[in-house]
């Protein structure tokens, strides 16, 4: 488009039709008739003008200073060549914004007080007045909670009312306030119920209601009128309907109530009056129904939980049971193996484990405990006894104590155990069998929840009954060891297990919530009793029973038991680390049976093992030391019976004992174990004719004994040690260094069987030596044949670290490929910060500029005003003065003229 700017402007204006030749009247008319409203046209024209203005102002756009750039091929996003922004527009926008914010602030500076305009949006420069008004209106509306009589309410349909009645003429309109009042008072469920009820009732009662009301809803939008009608109908029949529903529910419930006992009898096989059937007639039907449902749920759950399981359990055949047992056993064994290897058992598995154990010693619901169960349990007990597979596996799942019935009517189940456990108790047991049962039945009564409260309150006063042994049936649960000792002082040791059992029955955790803590304390006391047993040693059958009791209690209170055992061990390790007494030995033996000794790590057995080893490592001085050591070695080997872990101390002790007790000192070194020169009188002499006996715990005690006893003890120690070595050889048969471990044993045996020693030892011992020696010979040669060079390091070779950079397929130089995530994040933040900072600085600079400009402007305005005022004043004065001057002049002239004259 050639020509001057003006020409071009004219041309474009003409083109848009802004200017043009005058239209004739006809044309104008036609245009108006075309439907082009004038308004429309005006907008159009404004837009056109804007476009033209833009087009003709080259400074509105920012251009590259040196013209457009050459086209290049790049994978960066192409920047538009032409314009990058509208500087003037941006500038004016910024200016405007500043004027609205900064300038206001500036003018308000140093001004105190005044009226703050809190009207909404008054200070918001970005709102048009219309918007402001609108917003204010909305706020106003929101602040007023629409009341019932609000004329400007959302639904204007009700119209005016008087005393709740509509003033309109077409129908009995009512206000819908009943909904708020009544329904909201009920629960949602009840509400639903009502609706359903009304639905049920409507066809018969509601004749002026259209029948297809419910179904019609989706098809046709109901008018307000209809809705209201419906609502009114509802409210009208509400009361009657509620009454009807309640009646119906009541009937139903009564009916159910009547049936329930039968049902119970049927299901639970037990007579128990349902206690919670006392209904409150004032209660609403809905609530009753709800309760009913809840009841039902509860029953259902109960049913699902235990009783329904019972028949299936019972219907299992013996084989199935055995199978299940063996499966369970296998699982436990797997877990044990895992622990032995030191692998972590995951938490849920442990939980599972705990859950497994839980139901079997704590049946979930109380009532089961109190059923009459003599025959049944007898059968159960027999079942355990006769079940062949479980016994073969050496596995006794239902231990005799823990099973709940055992605590009550345990005569049947426990009695065989008792009788063959303690032979001296047998005949007395047989005698007072009836007595025993009767007593326990009495006990059962006292344990009934009915008597429970009385029991917990007055358990000491009920202490009067005694069985034929003079044993009371009830005991207070001892709080300390001294109490327990005092309590049992008068009672012969043999009856201790009975007492423990009765205490356990009396304070069974299911009877009272406090009993749990009591029994936990009781376990600790029992353990302390074991530890103190060296003072007055009960027969081992009793100790054994106590240990079994502790074991079964430990299943319920593992932490308490473990803590008590650990504190006993600590005591032992701290105060008499190298001189164990019999109590310590018993404790160590108990640990060996109660806790799994095969675990890689166990909180109790590991320290126990360490303590044993430490005691074995000491230098023995007396014969009792040797005997104790032998006992501890036996224990140590028994600990490792399953896991077959190697205990150097046991080997050392056995070797050293044999060397020390040998009649003659060996001339050459027998191996790499430390030999402690025995104290004089330790070596065996003149034992040719001594009979070899078993060691007994009494040998571990410090007793003055006669010479013959000493010799027989020595011989017994040697014999036991030989047996220990035998057991150890069996245990460590597959070990890698079996040869090295047992070579000294062979040497020692050869030495013991040599001429000078042989003459002083009994022949049975010599036989033992030769037998073991030949066995070891065989095993050693086998071990040598089985030995292979070690190949420990067949590992996957370690990868060498790579130094080749990572290759990016679609590389974008604008992007950052930092493999370090944190660093990348940081870089991003930094860039953002820099950008923001620059922006903020620019803004601040512009603000400062603006302020300076404004201040200058204000100063100028002030100056101008001053100037104006000044000029005005000067002019005024000048005016006044002028007039005076003029009069003066005039006077002067006049005088002059007069003088001239």
């Amino acid at each position: 488009m050639a020509g001057s700017q003006l020409k071009r402007l004219k041309a474009s204006l003409k083109e848009k039709g802004v200017i043009g030749p005058q239209l004739s009247k006809k044309q104008k008319k036609r245009n108006a008739q075309d439907g082009k409203t004038s308004n429309n046209r005006r907008y159009q024209k404004a837009a056109d003008l804007e476009g033209i203005r833009e087009q003709f102002n080259p400074f509105d756009l920012k251009h590259n200073v040196r013209g457009p750039k050459f086209q290049v091929t790049t994978n960066r996003p192409a920047t538009s060549n032409a314009s990058k922004g509208r500087p003037t527009e941006a500038k004016s926008l910024g200016e405007e914004r500043r004027r609205q914010t900064l300038l206001v602030e500036l003018s308000r500076r140093h001004k105190v007080g005044g009226i703050v305009d809190r009207r909404f949006g008054e200070n918001d420069p970005f709102m048009t007045p219309e918007e402001k008004m609108q917003e204010r209106f909305v706020r106003e509306k929101m602040s007023h909670k629409s009341s019932m009589f609000d004329l400007e309410d959302d639904d204007p349909s009700e119209g005016l009312t008087h005393l709740g009645k509509s003033l309109s003429f077409d129908g009995p309109d009512l206000v819908d306030d009943f909904e708020e009042d009544d329904i909201s008072a009920e629960s949602d469920a009840a509400d639903d119920d009502e609706h359903r009820g009304s639905k049920r009732l409507r066809p018969s009662n509601d004749d002026f209601q259209d029948a297809d009301h419910e179904e019609g809803q989706p098809e046709r939008k109901k008018t307000k009128q209809e809705v209201m009608k419906e609502v009114i109908a509802k409210s009208k029949f509400y009361k009657a309907e509620r009454q009807a529903a309640k009646d119906a529910d009541e009937d139903l419930r009564e009916e159910l109530d009547m049936e329930l006992p039968d049902l119970h009898d049927l299901l639970f096989n037990r007579k128990k009056a349902p206690s919670d059937k006392e209904t409150n007639p004032a209660e609403s039907a809905a609530a009753a129904k709800e309760r009913m449902e809840r009841d039902y749920d509860m029953r259902l759950r109960q049913l699902a939980q235990d009783r329904r399981a019972q028949p299936t359990d019972r219907s299992k055949t013996d084989e199935e049971k055995a199978q299940e047992e063996s499966r369970k056993l296998r699982e436990l064994e797997e877990k044990r193996l895992k622990r032995m290897r030191g692998e972590e058992i995951s938490g849920d598995e442990v939980d599972q484990d705990a859950a497994d154990i839980q139901p079997e010693d704590v049946p979930p619901n109380g009532p089961v405990l109190f059923r009459d169960n003599e025959e049944e349990d007898f059968g159960l007990g027999k079942g355990i006894k006769t079940r062949p597979t479980a016994t073969e596996l050496g596995f006794d799942d239902e231990d005799d104590f823990i099973i709940e019935d055992d605590l009550i009517a345990s005569d049947s189940d426990l009695e065989p155990v008792e009788s063959d456990a303690s032979s001296n108790e047998e005949e007395s047991d047989a005698e007072d069998d009836d007595e025993f049962t009767k007593g326990l039945l009495n006990e059962e009564e006292t344990q009934n929840p009915v008597f429970n409260g009385q029991l917990t309150g007055t358990n000491i006063s009920t202490d009067t009954k005694e069985d034929s042994n003079g044993l009371p049936y009830t005991f207070p649960c001892p709080e300390t060891l001294d109490e327990f000792v005092q309590m049992t002082q008068t009672i012969p040791m043999e009856h201790l297990p009975t007492i423990v059992q009765r205490i356990r029955a009396l304070y069974h955790p299911k009877l009272d919530s406090n009993n749990k803590a009591k029994l936990a304390k009781f376990v600790a006391i029992l353990i302390q009793f074991l530890a103190r047993s060296f003072e007055k040693l009960p027969p081992f059958s009793v100790l054994e029973n106590l240990i079994r009791h502790i074991h079964s209690l430990a299943k319920s209170y593992p932490v308490e038991t473990a803590n008590e055992f650990r504190s006993q061990l600590e005591d032992f390790g701290r105060f008499r680390p190298l001189s164990p007494n019999l109590g310590d030995l018993v404790i160590l033996s108990a640990i060996g049976t109660i806790f799994p000794t095969s675990d890689h790590f166990h909180q109790v057995t590991t320290p126990a093992g360490l303590l044993i080893a430490r005691n074995l490592e000491k230098v023995p001085k007396k014969i009792t030391d040797y005997a104790q050591g032998t006992y501890l070695s036996t224990l140590a080997l028994q600990y490792q019976q399953v896991s077959k872990r190697y205990i150097p101390e046991v080997m050392n002790f056995c070797f050293n004992t044999l060397c020390a007790l040998a009649p003659e000192k060996a001339t050459k070194t027998l191996g790499y174990f430390p030999i402690h020169e025995p104290t004089p009188g330790t070596r065996i002499s003149n034992a040719k004719s001594v009979a070899v006996r078993k060691l007994s715990p009494a040998d571990c005690e410090q007793d003055e004994i006669t010479d013959e006893d000493v010799i027989s003890t020595k011989v017994a120690i040697v014999s036991t040690t030989i047996q220990l070595l035998d057991a150890a050889a069996d245990l460590y048969g597959g070990k890698a260094a079996f040869f090295e471990t047992f070579e000294p044993a062979k040497n020692i045996l050869a030495h013991l069987a040599s001429k000078p020693c042989r003459s002083k030892l009994p022949t049975t011992l010599i036989d033992q030596f030769t037998k073991l020696e030949s066995k070891l010979d065989k095993m050693l040669s086998l071990a040598q044949v089985a030995r292979r060079p070690l190949e420990l390091h067949h590992h996957r070779p370690l990868p060498i670290k790579m130094a080749i950079p990572k290759f990016e397929d679609s590389f974008d130089p604008n992007k950052h490929y930092d493999p370090d995530r944190d660093r990348a994040e940081l870089a991003k933040l930094k860039a953002e910060h820099k950008k923001e900072r620059k922006g903020a600085m620019r803004e601040l600079r512009k603000d400062a500029n603006f302020m300076a400009r404004e201040q200058l402007r204000m100063k100028k305005a002030k100056d101008a005003a001053y100037e104006k005022k000044y000029k005005r004043l000067v002019a005024e004065i000048q005016g006044e003065e002028g007039r005076e001057a003029n009069t003066y002049e005039r006077e002067k002239q006049a005088r002059k003229r007069a003088a001239k004259r």
């Binding site: 059958s541 050392n652 090295e740």
Partner: protein
Amino acid sequence: MSGTVGEESLKRKRSKTSVKANKRSKAEKNDSNDEDDPQAEILLLENAILESKKNYNNITTLLEIAQKNGDDDSTQLALVSLCRVFLRLLASGNMSRRDGQSEKDIVVVQWLKKRLGDYKQIILSAFEDEESASTALTLAMRILQAEGKYTNDKDESNFPKVFLREIVDALVRKGSEDIRQEFCEKFLAEYTDIRFYTFKVLKDILSADSDESSNEDLFNNVLDLLSFFEDVPDSAEDMSQFYVDAPKKKSDPVKSVNQHKKQAQEAWLALFALDPNREQRKTVLQIMTKSIAPWFTRPELLMDFLTDSYNAGGATSLLALSGVFYLIQERNLDYPSFYRKLYSLLDANILHSKHRSKFFRLLDTFLSSTHLPAVLVASFIKRITRLCLNAPPAAIVVVIPWVYNLFKKHPLCTFMMHRVSRTPEEKEILENEGMADPFIADEEDPMETRAIDSCLWEVVQLQSHYHPNVATIAKIISEQFTKQSYNIEDFLDHSYSSLLDAELSKQVKKPPVVEFMIPKRVFLPQDPASGTEDSLLAKLWDFQ
């Protein structure tokens, strides 16, 4: 001389104070006539002596009082006052012979000297007594000081060696532990000259007594004195404190560090010549590198003692090891077949010994060189792992990381844990005959044991040790050797009690697993009908 003037004034002051004290005591005497009678008498006697020569005879009276054993207080007082008297006499020069003295004066001087001798005897005999020993020592040292100060006529310093010898002799033979300790702390530690001459005197005493039979106590007592010094003085500046006047000559032996060391060295050597018994030897060896060797200007003189101890065997050898190592390191001692000897130290008791950690530190040092032959290192590894089969857990815990470090340093030895048979013949032989351990356990020369052809089956067995931590540590040998090395120090100081404490101090958080099955019998034999086997305990022991 300012020193003497100062002394003079000091004396005067002292006399004044003593006079005052006397006055006071006199006043006291007036107050309580009966009680303080002997004390007052002593003070009167003392004053009389100081007043006039005529009263010198009072000295004998005082000496008699001092010798009397009855009253402790008066004995003490007499001793103190006598000390004062002699100090005054010495200071005033009344006890030294001078030119131009009359015969009578000379007689008096000689008499006084004799009395001084008597007095010294009394003081020294008081060393035996627990209570008075401390005072006696102070008095003796005071006299010693005065003697040294006032009897030197010429310029040459004149340390009263004779008296010091008497003192030290008394200390060493009769004195109690406490008094020796006091002597060490107050005098030996403080004063250079006393230290110097004590060393000298000790040497004399020891060499004079070397043939005596009852030298066990003597040895211990002298050892007490000598072992008091841990640090050797570095330079002459450290030795500026003198008890008696400092010698004027620059070149005086007392001032030289080397002379000091020489004296100490000779004293020690004299001590070693006493032929200590085992226990004494051990005590000496324990402080060898720290307190003894630094004193020696010629440590090679220790060689005899150390090699004797090293050859003695047992714990003594262990302790001597560090001394020998010191000599090898510092003095370039050529110890023939050192490693052979070291190897022989690895006997059955070493891992049970209480010096185990000490030994391991040294052993670690000795075998830290990568230039040692792999055969030798292999022998050590094999021997010590063999010993581990009978060792306490605390020892195994050290050995395994140590072996790991050695493997890292001597990769040739790693065949001991990974040996693949290559040829089919070899494999066949293995199949048929197994493998006999080529290691010769009885061989004394570590180069000849053929341990490098063996394998570490012992470590594999220890991987199933009863203590979980030990077992875990033993497993590092069969894992990949990714760690550069283990710090042996972390493993050294364990014992049964520390391991036990570590276990028992942990709180039980997770409920411990309880054996699922409750056994029918614990102690007693099982019911034969039940079919379960008896436990080992029930089998071997009789609990009926």
